[in-house]
Symmetry: D2
Subunit: 379 residues, 4 copies
């Protein structure tokens, strides 16, 4: 079928007398033209057992008024209406609240640009000669917050010889308490840039406020959107308009679908250089800070073409469990690791308990290198 | 349509050339006969975008081999197969794992005997002249565990003048630690019976083990199945065969659907005297022991004809929040309250922190009586 | 003890030979002066069973270096160190990651200005002659999104005669999909203002982006911070600096403590006109959109002096369950209700399934008025 | 300090005038004698800010009445009482509900026999010459349910050449619906035994009901306790008395602490041959059946000496994600894998969608063998 064809459902139900076609809505000139770019969505509307004929007629009329195809199937136990048409129209139509409707089942995925179906091959993001999403597993490491030029430098100089390509560090810090250290702002960004100059490591840092976009982009090589901002839609739109790769961290209670919808926000503005980061979800368990959902890795690799990295540090919140989770992340198929490392965790202004010392991190890398090799990849 | 008729879906898809009927599977002599008692289930099978024609043919053949109707709809973006037939067969058929299948959407509810559709009017459970599920909101109160004849008596004598119809108390106690007090067993049951003799209050007590069924039924007026046993299916089957009402507590991580399926287990054996008890679900919040899900009350009243009571004590785990939650439960439509009361919570062998003293409970009842009246009910 | 006194713990442990004082750290001139405004915090540091004497000495030295009191208790099984001092210093010190430390138990609450201990009496927020947090339960109702001047007016004119004091409606809409309707922006704010002119209802609308603060404040009587922005700390700081009341909605996976910390962010900037709104938390249950945590109401009323309102619409996500949850909220002690009402939910551009029609809302109010009366309050 | 010594806390608080000893409770002849076997527990009792002197005196008196040490510390902001003594007494004492008490913080872990502190070296379980918990990673594979002798044999014969040592298969099946296939019972056990005879693979099968213990033990080499029975304490006690190894699956909403407490139940009866199995916990995510909590693996290995295996099949509920999760489990340190394998998943009576075919399982094993080697282990 060509691009301008119309797909439509008809649901028909038989009695014992044989097949009886349900009311079929002829799809005439009013039918919306569909191109691949604005794909149609189909929904299955299940009616309540006690719906009236009037309910049914009203539903069909309303769908048709909106230019949607409506196709009825009357079963012994349930009547079902198939609705099909422009996905924006379908999404905006509150079918669930119509009288007589019990439930509405969408069939197609609500995201498109980031979906594997839209682009089957893996996206590899290139930044200053480094590739994210390729055979090499990339390392993003550093302190939670940029504390001082000296400490940052000391950390970076311990990481660089280990082959860490990206230095992470927050200049703007989202903190639960207003009384906690909130980061050095531009001063911190400058420290990051200075240490990049010195070590050649690229800079990853968080953007918290759309008002800081220009500032942060001036210094960062990759912009990070934090877990608490995964559904800060204005911020997502903002980074959709920049020309830098974005690390999008999964919200602590975000479903995989919501995570991908947030990525779609960025992509919809034109920036498709998105790196998804699983960093643990909130559950009832209290021994770990969050529960690292490693099944998100193969699942995301299946649903999207974007690179997927894992942050074991925020996930578990305890340095002693980070190495095991880093190894597991690579075995699960992650394209990179984001790890908190500090030369003196006991003095870190933020997230000390989950930060590894350089020596522990070096030994983590040795273990991970063996796992990467077993996976046919390099570190 | 009569009882022996066959409902069937046909999904048809048109191209721009107009309506084109999909392959319609004639439903001949092999079609299963359906009566109202063994209602059919319908499922919608969504195929993967890259399924092969062979996949599709195999699916149809398999469905037919099992006596299920199979009806194809080829859309521009998706092919869908409607399957319909005997619900047991459908449930046992692992359609989701067949090659080419993306997802399977069931349409009908998986429980039947306990559903509101099956029996539209409220079930009122009568036990020794008391009604549960009627206009009067019933009170079930007492200590977590039966500790001694004296303490139990003291508690009961404080409750009886307040109009509490049911005395609760555990003779067998499920305890997280093997080193905690596990209950007095039969000795405790005898204490309950003796206090019933004295006060006229009926006895509610927990059954933990199918081997104790006869013993517990000898003394209890209502048998309780605890939250940790909500999916102890052998125990559910056991109480499905007794002639006493059962209080079934929701599992701490059970969905409403699973809760109703567990009730269906009991009903399927012939015992329909089931009282559902919402008692809090496990969430990430740590200030309360569990999170009381009061929306379960109106939801259950809609989905089932069974009475619904609420246990605010186990839900919040703190005596100070119990009165507010008891009031809210009644306002939400609960048919009864299950509250832990102890004369000396500071000496209770179990669950002291969430037990109310009789005076506090009396004041809770005063507040609740006003809410009940506002709801057109009595306490 | 006076304001400038120093509190300090000493933990001492005895063997069978009698009491043996642990090392007591003399608190000399270096001890920080404490005023009520900058209260001290105390922490209990539990050491690992296998800690070394060196670990212990290092911990004590580090605490002292930061001007914190350190007090040791050596037990048979565990050594414990009490740390006390300036709360900011304590919070910034990553004690948990120090060698030899097993866990750290804070004793005081991490929020202050919003705590009930800080201000025992209820805060009543007055806005244009209306009181929130007083005996009268306030109603905030209206559509999810402002759709058109006509529809908004029609909704408002249906609400005003029912005694609804506040009209809610989003001009800026946070939507999960970038392809959904995002709100009319300033145009929508103007519609709200025009309808306020006409009906006398005050305007509640959401602020999503710090860049819109001036704009939104120009039109809104109360500014709402949405659930996805509860930890958008820059936005919280922003509304901490305005002179309008703020409705802060609980994040869908926020603990009560985090919720209060976010309120503290606003209060710390000087704006104490904060209305907390419970709107459901994310759980495993899928029958409802979220799980309404009504125990949050009495719990918050205990922990904070701020008014607490409830949004049953977003909590359950289904109009049919809203009335029961609204009644329960009032019975639990809520100071107000935030309800989605639309004249034609079936045409609403957003959240149709959870919106009530004016007639259903009027009947909800009748029921709620009876519950309010039972609570000694008015609607 | 010797075994009979008494540890005790004293909390003392100073004003600026120097150190002032709090009331110290002399621990005389009444003090309980402590041996290593019945270790003491310590608790820290934090009083409410508004507690009275009377509250304090009452708390101390009560603790002393129970033979517990009580040690007071009055701070500027909080009074704290340290309680220490026999752990059973402490656990049974409902201190939290005493007037004036705000919270109680336990210091020691509530489980003992299964703790790493109690037995530092790894437990290796030997069964018919096979070792679980040693260097070799053990494989437990087979169908969810035993369906027929033929199918079971076909599956086993496909697994045996792959080096799978243990054949899993349910003869008694816990099913959510009473209308689903419940297993063949003893007939199924006999099929398992027959196939063991033929293949040499050992048999793992589930025990659901204490009444079936003798029967199941007659045929099984390892008895499995399912996730829904993790807190079926009577069943745990039952298998604590048998002489077979037990696989204990984590409850779907069980914390690590509860999981270990359930293991302690078994160990407390004398059976220490316990294999812990992480199988996914229930979260808000719906793309996977459960969320596999792989951080449980290193955490459990740290807290307990027992072997830990992982069931990726039930965790994710989809065959396509099982291989990645199996690899990750080994990289996280698991001692074994429990995987559902079926020759024809599309015909499986239970859990078809999550079952792998033998060929897919063989390729999973190849990948896992490489990861195991990278971990210095064998498959």
């Amino acid at each position: 079928m060509g691009e301008t064809e119309l797909a439509a459902f008809v649901f028909v139900v038989t009695g014992d007398s044989g097949l009886k076609r349900g009311r079929n809505h002829p799809v005439g000139p009013a039918a919306p033209t569909v191109t691949k770019q604005e794909a149609q969505e189909a929904m299955i509307i299940v009616l309540k057992p006690d719906h009236t004929e009037e309910d049914l007629q009203r539903i069909v009329r309303k769908l048709e008024d909106k230019g949607l195809g409506a196709h009825i199937s009357k079963g012994e136990q349930r009547t079902i209406v198939g609705a099909i048409g422009d996905e924006r129209v379908l999404r905006e139509t509150p079918i669930e609240s119509w009288p007589g409707v019990e439930s509405v089942l969408p069939i197609l995925k609500p995201y498109k640009l980031v979906s594997r179906e839209f682009k089957p091959e893996d996206t590899i993001i290139r930044v200053n000669g480094r590739e994210i999403g390729g055979r090499k597993i990339q390392l993003f490491a550093g302190p939670c917050a940029v504390e001082s030029r000296e400490v940052l430098e000391e950390i970076a100089l311990s990481l660089q010889p280990l082959g860490v390509g990206f230095l992470r560090g927050g200049a703007f810090k989202p903190r639960t308490s207003p009384y906690s250290f909130q980061g050095w702002g531009e001063k911190g960004l400058k420290m990051l840039a200075a240490v990049r100059e010195e070590t050649g490591m690229l800079v990853v840092t968080e953007l918290m406020d759309p008002r800081d976009t220009v500032l942060v982009c001036k210094y960062a090589d990759i912009v990070q959107i934090g877990t608490r901002n995964m559904q800060n839609f204005r911020l997502l739109t903002e980074v959709g308009n920049i020309d830098k790769p974005v690390i999008l961290k999964r919200g602590m209670s975000a479903t995989i679908k919501e995570f991908l919808m947030s990525a779609e926000y960025i992509a919809a503005q034109g920036n498709e250089k998105i790196i998804l980061c699983e960093r643990g979800i909130r559950t009832f368990e209290t021994e770990t800070r969050n529960t690292l959902d490693l099944s998100a890795v193969p699942l995301l690799k299946q649903l999207t073409h974007l690179p997927v990295i894992v942050d074991p540090s925020h996930a578990v919140g305890r340095a002693d469990l980070v190495p095991a989770m880093a190894r597991a992340a690579i075995a699960a198929g992650a394209d990179g690791l984001l790890v908190e490392v500090h030369v003196r965790p006991e003095e870190a202004l933020s997230d000390g308990p989950q930060s590894l010392r350089p020596a522990a991190f070096a030994s983590l890398l040795e273990e991970c290198a063996r796992i990467a090799q077993a996976m046919g990849r390099t570190l």
